[in-house]
Amino acid sequence: MSASTARIGAVIRKELAEFRRNRLIIGTAAVLPVLFLIAPTASILTVKASALSAGLDKGIDRSLFLPLLVPVLVPSIMSAYSVVGEREQGTLEPVLTTPVSRAELLIGKAAAIFIPAAALGYLMFGVFVAITQLAAAPAVAAAVRHAPQLPASLIFIPLLAAWAIWVGLAVSARATDTRVAQQLSTLGSLPAAAVAALMSFQVISPSFGLAAALAGGLLAVDCAACLAVARLFDRERLITGARPSRGIPAPAAPQDIQSPGEVTAHRKGELKCRRL
């Protein structure tokens, strides 16, 4: 069955409306970026123009890679709520009785988290770059403008967000409690957060080749995770938490469909209620 963009759009629209009215999600989405913007901005603004090249690079690394934690942490919280939250509210079952396909539901939910997470990530970098251009020493501002870490970070934002989303959705599809799901989802997104942190603190030296390899690896992992999560979005799994027992058998011929009481009724042409 081909996916309907209208139904995907409906899921995205609904998810975004729910996020907008969820104080936990709004609070997380508002506070985390501010926290992760303050330290890097302060760090880069205190770098002196006369600093050695290595010192400048270190400052730029920390400033440009540390905020990558935001597109990891924000979607992990949102996606963890996405399925188990619906199950707790009792809204999942009515949705699954509509013609929405598993692909439409999955894409809709993932996109509804990806869009604000990526937008938030890019907004943070935009604000950071704008502040450095306006307030940092001219040499530091130029160094930021031409830093290879800048395009690398812009590529890592969606890849890291996607990883956090798939992990969150997978946890959410199997969990029975929202809080447990959010904790597990945060744990599951730690590898992605670790990548950002290790680059930020120069434990991994983010050369162009390494950054490209990491990006390629993340892309492959994201694709594999997407397929794995799609399997979890089976209706029976989502409703019962168990694997489907088997495929639905072929329908029987009309004459095979009969209850003992009704067979009697058919044969005699009269009402006959009896114990089965």
Partner: protein
């Protein structure tokens, strides 16, 4: 195969003859054949077969854990059966028909399942989009008007009372104008006023020609609303109209109350036409006394009993036909078979 082509002829049991109406041909809305569902090692539904006619209100009764909700979920294509087959709204269940079945049915689970942070209209709009409905706003307005919620359309669903949430959920179920509606314990946890409102809405669905599959363990509700009922306890115990199930399981009886205990009730009731037996049924002591008489024909027995009591000098306070409730039927069937091989 098309379920619409399957026609019952000359059958009361197919659900059209509520209140003794003449039988008529009705296409089947649901046909279930030997449906079985096993979760791990536990059998939730065992070899269940039944038919539901178009436009019928069909009650599906059973204790907790009897497999009612599992059956509904199978018919709503949410879970797949371990064995057996079914046709819903004329579409055979299977990978190819599942999406089409979902277009033609609506399910109202026990919990209303509304998004609490969205308004009633936003909730309905989401589902209207998922169904891909044209004229969405018009349909939402109509559905809300049908359940009397037009004035609460822009309230947050979380601010509604439980009864109003049930109404909103019912409005959501009406959006796609379903041929078959599954209502799973729709009055569970509702107060009497809200329950009465939901009953009214179910009656209105019947008037609109919607086939209603109602699972409940409120027997008075089933008796009041359903054309036929099926009593379920993992497997199907019985199926039929409530009054026929009563007649099938219980002999007719008369309840007699007199001002004082009869000195020799055996002489009064013995040998009367159509009276098969009697037992004392009222309170012991010096006050009014009661007797329960098993009879083969109420119309013949009642006058004879009256005459015999008067002849014996008894002051008759009342003679009434005892009426077994659906609860009696249910307890007899479910209690009877509890622990027996299925």
């Amino acid at each position: 195969m098309s379920g619409d082509s399957v026609v019952y002829e000359g059958l009361d049991e197919t659900g059209t003859a509520r209140g003794g109406q003449a039988p008529r041909a009705v296409p089947a809305a649901i046909e279930v054949s030997h449906l079985t569902k096993v979760f791990g090692g536990r059998t939730a539904v065992s070899d269940v077969s039944f038919r539901v006619a178009g436009g019928e209100v069909f009650g599906f009764l059973g204790p907790n854990g009897a497999g009612k909700t599992t059956t509904v979920r199978i018919l709503a294509t949410l879970i797949s059966p371990t064995a057996g087959s079914a046709t819903v709204a004329g579409i055979p269940m299977g990978p190819d028909g599942a999406a089409e079945i979902r277009r033609r049915i609506a399910v109202m689970p026990e919990s209303p399942g509304l998004y609490q942070r969205l308004t009633v209209t936003e909730n309905l709009e989401y589902f209207a989009r998922l169904y891909g409905l044209p004229r969405r706003q018009e349909r939402i307005t109509e559905a809300l008007a049908a359940v009397g919620l037009a004035d609460r359309a822009h309230d947050l669903a979380g601010s509604l009372s439980k009864g109003l949430r049930q109404r909103a959920a019912l409005a959501r179920s009406l959006l796609n104008e379903p041929a078959v509606m599954f209502l799973d314990e729709p009055t569970s946890g509702l107060d009497p006023v809200a329950t009465h409102e939901v009953h009214g809405l179910i009656a209105a669905l019947r008037d609109r020609g919607v086939t209603v599959f109602l699972t409940t363990h409120r027997l008075e509700e089933a008796e009041r609303l359903c054309d036929r009922v099926a009593i379920m306890s993992t497997s199907l115990r019985s199926i039929g109209r409530p009054e026929d199930l009563r007649r099938e399981l219980f002999a007719a009886s008369l309840e007699v109350t007199v001002a004082a205990a009869l000195p020799e009730p055996g002489r009064v009731f013995g040998g009367l036409p159509a009276v098969q037996g009697w037992k004392a049924a009222g309170p012991a002591g010096g006050g009014p006394a009661g007797y329960a008489l098993t009879v083969s024909d109420v119309a013949r027995a009642a006058p004879a009993v009256t005459r015999a009591l008067v002849a014996a000098g008894a002051d008759v306070l009342s003679i009434a036909q005892s009426r077994h409730t659906l609860e009696d039927v249910y307890l007899q069937l479910v209690g009877d078979t509890e622990g027996s091989p299925r």
